[in-house]
């Protein structure tokens, strides 16, 4: 059995460590990009969301590299992501890419089927070893997200342009060849040291909060590398929805009795009263929290037809009005032209810079007027 899994940002790093620790044979397909999308859109339904098309393309590439089993997470809706595993299996098998699928969720057959699935994946392994591997994978997911956040801080402040990217890109490539969770933790630690050693200027950059659907916000390749481009323009970006947050808050804390961080739910309540699926509540709630924390702007990004984000998009103008924070919504599908996307980003960036300048000029004028 040769396992594979689709890409979503840096998830490959913690999944790889997990599979290394459990001695599972796997194949890592090429990172997401135009090639994966062009392949996937030929087989996927036209109005399926972009992540399904991209993941199908990536899995086709993995099949060509020798994979025969897909490892995928499941879900219980209402977001379509919960049914990806079935759609992928059916569509790929129909198109001639015969692959089996193991879904990481409680299946129809209950705990017995879940244990059967786990045995299929890892063979004869002690429960302790499995739990230890999972624990390490979660720790790694958290540290990779911290590393990414660190790069969001250093990139707008670096004295030498490109210093952050050099280190971060090298890290992503080295992570592909490092084996096991211990070695991965060492690599992450070393990379953090390198990033912390970058000479930084003391200027305080403008801040942009990124909200929206999980795949397009986390996967930089799908989102036109928006986080890097904004960093190069001198903005510090932040994203609350991360892989480790998803694993811990939405998967683990449902099994382990631990208090969940639900600040975004309270922040969203005046605008969106209930959970409606996907990350709509997170989008609205985090937008409000960013506004209250003094961020300069919010960018929402999601794939065309993403149902929960459409609801969020219709509500964000109210957040914009109430909290006086500019919001830009960017929708991505396979027709999205990079140039149009960049133009909007640049225009939004200019708007934020001018707003800050105007605000500062008004402050100075006020001070001068009151002094006289």
């Amino acid at each position: 059995m040769k396992v594979t899994f689709p890409h979503m940002g840096n998830t490959y790093i913690c999944v790889k460590s997990l599979l290394d620790d459990l001695n599972v044979d796997y194949v890592i397909p090429p990172f997401n990009g135009r090639a994966a999308l062009d392949l996937g859109k030929l087989c996927a339904p036209e109005f399926a969301c972009l992540p399904l098309k991209i993941t199908i393309g990536t899995l086709i590439k993995a099949y060509e590299m020798g994979a025969d089993t897909i490892l995928m997470t499941g879900g219980r809706g209402p977001c379509r992501f919960g049914y990806y595993c079935e759609m992928q299996r059916e569509i790929l098998n129909d198109a001639g890419y015969k692959m089996d699928a193991i879904t990481l969720e409680m299946p129809k057959g209950g705990i017995r089927e879940f244990i059967e699935n786990t045995k299929r994946l890892v063979g004869k392994t002690s429960v302790w070893r499995i739990l230890n591997a999972v624990r390490n994978a979660v720790v790694i997911a958290e540290s990779v997200d911290k590393l990414e956040k660190l790069s969001y801080k250093t990139r707008p402040r670096e004295m030498e342009k490109g210093a952050t990217d050099l280190i971060y890109r090298s890290f992503k490539e080295k992570a592909l060849s490092v084996k096991g969770s211990r070695a991965m933790k060492e690599l992450i630690s070393k990379t953090a040291e390198e990033l912390n050693a970058i000479p930084l200027s003391v200027r305080e950059p403008l801040k942009i909060g990124i909200v929206g659907e999980i795949f397009t916000t986390i996967d930089s390749d799908t989102g036109f590398h928006m986080d890097k481009i904004l960093g190069d323009m001198g903005f510090e970006v932040d994203r609350q929805v991360t892989v480790s947050e998803w694993i811990i808050e939405h998967m683990l804390k449902k099994v382990i009795p631990a208090k969940r961080d639900l600040r975004y739910v309270d922040a969203a309540k005046p605008y969106l009263k209930t959970m409606i699926g996907g990350h709509a509540q997170e989008t609205i709630g985090n937008a409000v929290l960013y506004a209250k924390a003094g961020y300069d702007g919010i960018i929402q990004t999601y794939p065309l037809t993403c149902m929960p984000e459409i609801v969020a998009q219709s509500i964000l103008p109210m957040v914009e009005k109430d909290h006086g924070i500019p919001v830009l919504s960017l929708i991505i599908d396979e027709m999205t032209g990079e140039a149009g996307y960049m133009t909007r980003l640049e225009a939004f960036a200019d708007l934020l810079v001018m707003r800050r300048k105007n605000c500062e000029m008004k402050k100075v004028a006020f001070q001068q007027a009151t002094e006289v």
Binding site: F47, Y83, K273, V311, A312, Q313, S314, I331
Partner: protein, 329 residues
Amino acid sequence: MSSKLGIPRGLFYYRFYPLWNEFFKILDVDCIDSGPTNKKILELGSRLCVDEACLPVKIFHGHAASLRDKADFIFVPRYTSISEKEYICPKFGGLPDMLRNCINGLPRIIDTEFNLRKKNSNALKAAAEIGSFFGHSTRDSIFAFSQAKKAFDEYRKMVVAGTFPGDILDNKKNMRSLGKDTLKILLIGHPYNIYDSFVNMNIVEKLRQKGAEVFTVDMFEEKLLKDMAEVLNKRMFWNFGTLALGCTYQILETENTDGIIYLMSFGCGIDAFVCNMAERRVRERSDIPYIVLTIDEHTGEAGIDTRIEAFIDLIRWRKRDEGYISAHG
């Protein structure tokens, strides 16, 4: 003077209107509905609603906005779930919030949540909350709801016995004509697309004029469809998906359908998946003709007419010529 309740004639109005009409009648609530969809409502909704939303949601915005200044309350229950372990669609769950944030001057929205995903009795709690808006006690509201449920069950019995739901809604009688040459066409789609003849450009009438008898997913017993859908490898978590796929499996088993039309909204998330799964099963296991018609606010009637004509012709020729297609015409 009693409060007036505005009822937007969109989305789940088409599914549950017999229930709510009876409920509000027993509670003696003064109701006004927004009337059938028309061009003005469509334009109003398209203007007010966010561009990316599907057509039914835009039309609902139009219906809701048209009730401004005509009612004291507007009835937009939050349908999070209407069946165990299933959802409907994220937009249904967020609909009251979308309206509140997009449309100015709406009357107060009654957005009581219906969440039957875990416990069925949530319905009675919700009914009590709705009744309280009009000064009714919990006991009276619950009584009204149980009576309304009986009326709804009677309506469902009529539909499963063969009466087309659209005929009941439009008050049409004796519309069915089952002659020797009548084709049986299954029209799969959401009730708000199938029974709104403005949105679907009168597709049912057009099919009938071409000698076809239309039947829909609603005309099957729900329990039967859910049982048929059990064969799915993973349980589907959308109510419409389970019913539509269950119906597909049922049709494949009984083999008494001449053609299947899937009426889909542009941008409908659920339809994107369900249509694909249904089509795959129909094409793999039978040779029943299958066509997908996609509608949005730009859809031209001529395009729909052409496709329907071609589809019906195809079925008739196939029946007449038993699959033989002459090489010389």
